[in-house]
């Protein structure tokens, strides 16, 4: 199996398992799911990018989109606390 395929499959497996685990634990906040998925994405990418730097560069737009999403959830939470 190719490196990219292994990366996609391992990431999919990781977030499905962690999603199920969080669901069983009764977590209802979507921000927590999002943060966990983002951390898993960055960890798995770092593991793969040690073999292939170009993959890390290619997935940079996805990382930026993820980080914007994370910034949005953090901003929302701050506003919620302030209000």
């Amino acid at each position: 199996m190719r490196l990219v395929e292994r990366y996609v499959l391992s990431y999919a497996l990781a977030i499905v398992l962690s999603g199920l685990l969080l669901m069983v634990m009764g977590i209802r906040e979507i921000e927590i799911y999002y943060a966990v998925y983002l951390i898993e994405f960055l960890i798995s990418l770092e593991l793969v990018a040690s073999f292939r730097r170009s993959l890390g560069r290619d997935l940079r737009p996805i990382i930026i989109v993820f980080l914007f999403g994370f910034a949005y959830t953090v901003a929302q939470r701050i506003l919620q606390i302030l209000s």
Binding site: V4, E5, I15, M23, E29, Y37, R52
Partner: protein, 378 residues
């Protein structure tokens, strides 16, 4: 140079008497008794192997493929076959026997790399995105907030699949097709100049040096430990005072691949010791470039040996070994050459290529230190 075009698929004419040959294993013409050039017998071999597969798209001529309107089931195959067949025609006209048309068609049509992320990847990704959105909406409507986490997971996986699919990727057959003509030219140079000497991979001094290979024109059983050709920028190096320094100076076939591997791994082999070298070469060739399934290297007192198991590029390796045997055995195919170049950079010594063979999907490379063993050198 005699140029002979195929008269029909599976048959070429004898360049001497014009008799039609159809069997690959017959090396001599039964009409005139002259030897059939290897390039033509190789071509027959490829065409016959294609015919045995029984695929009608592969056993038709380029003209017929181009003239036949593509059917619904075969349109993709017919289009790619016709396109590559056209290229093959021009190749046959310009360089008889370097790359057979049948072989190009076989690679274009049959040898697509096995991949789970194939043509359906975009559909799968879009479906997962849609499924994720639906789940998220449904979980909001029915008030099951914890379901939205799974919806988000599905959405993210789908997004990743769609994004990765949108990046261009190229099949192994394209790599092979773009490489073979260049190697065929080198093969012709080796064949016509006819040196029967062993190639010497020259050590690199600087981190940015391109690995070079020197092929002496005169028999040279014991070349000096350091040739010192770093200042040379000529293809044909002639030194009337020193026959050791007269020969062909070529960029190693795997030099560019090594540069790519170093870029992907973010390291330079010139900085590595023997232990790190073994790990790095394996990571680079198997994981980064994916040009091999396994790499084993062994350091001895006299030199280095590699055993490289073919990966996705096994068809390319097979074609190189068959079509450009001089390059493959005396300079090393690009895959062997990557390993040799990396070794030269890591060891920082000239290495003589004793032999490079490709059999049953395995490359075996034996290298000897130029000027004697490690002990003698130190």
């Amino acid at each position: 140079m005699q140029r002979t075009a195929p008269t029909r698929l599976g048959a070429v004419t004898c360049p001497s008497c014009g008799a039609r040959r159809i069997l690959a294993e017959m090396l001599y013409c039964d009409q005139c008794g002259k030897r059939i050039p290897d390039s033509l017998t190789n071509k027959l071999g490829h065409l016959e192997s294609v015919e045995l597969r029984g695929d009608p798209h592969l056993t038709t001529t380029a003209e017929r493929v181009a003239a036949t309107p593509p059917s619904r089931q075969s349109s993709g195959v017919a289009t790619s076959s016709a396109r590559v067949a056209g290229l093959g025609d021009s190749t046959v006209k310009s360089q008889a026997g370097t790359i057979a048309r049948g072989q190009e068609m076989r690679h274009a049509s049959l040898d697509a790399p096995p991949s789970i992320l194939g043509g359906r990847q975009r559909i799968l990704g879009a479906s997962l995105v849609a499924f994720g959105v639906l789940i998220a909406v449904a979980s909001t409507v029915i008030g099951a907030a914890n379901l939205s986490g799974l919806g988000l997971a599905s959405f993210l996986i789908g997004l990743l699949l769609v994004y990765l699919h949108s990046r261009p990727s190229f099949g192994t057959e394209l790599v092979e097709a773009s490489l073979l003509s260049s190697l065929a030219n080198v093969e012709r140079i080796l064949r016509e100049l006819g040196p029967r000497t062993k190639a010497i991979y020259l050590k690199t001094v600087d981190r940015l040096d391109v690995p070079m290979v020197f092929l002496p024109l005169e028999e040279n059983p014991a070349p000096p430990s350091g040739l010192n050709l770093s200042g040379e920028d000529r293809l044909l190096v002639i030194d009337s005072g020193d026959s050791h320094r007269t020969g062909l100076l070529l960029e190693a076939p795997g030099a560019s691949l090594l540069a790519l591997m170093e870029k992907e791994l973010d390291l330079n082999f010139i900085d590595l010791g023997n232990e790190d070298f073994l790990n790095a070469i394996r990571s680079g060739m198997v994981e980064s470039l994916e040009v091999a399934a396994d790499v084993k290297a062994a350091f001895t007192q006299d030199g280095v040996s590699f055993r490289i198991r073919d990966g996705p590029l096994r068809n390319m390796s097979r074609s190189i070994a068959r079509l450009v045997p001089n390059v493959a055995s005396r300079l090393g195919c690009p895959i062997c050459s990557v390993a040799i170049c990396a070794a030269v950079k890591a060891i920082k010594r000239d290495l003589i290529l004793e032999g490079a063979t490709h059999q049953a999907g395995v490359h075996s490379v034996t290298l000897r230190f130029s000027g004697g063993s490690t002990d003698e050198a130190s």
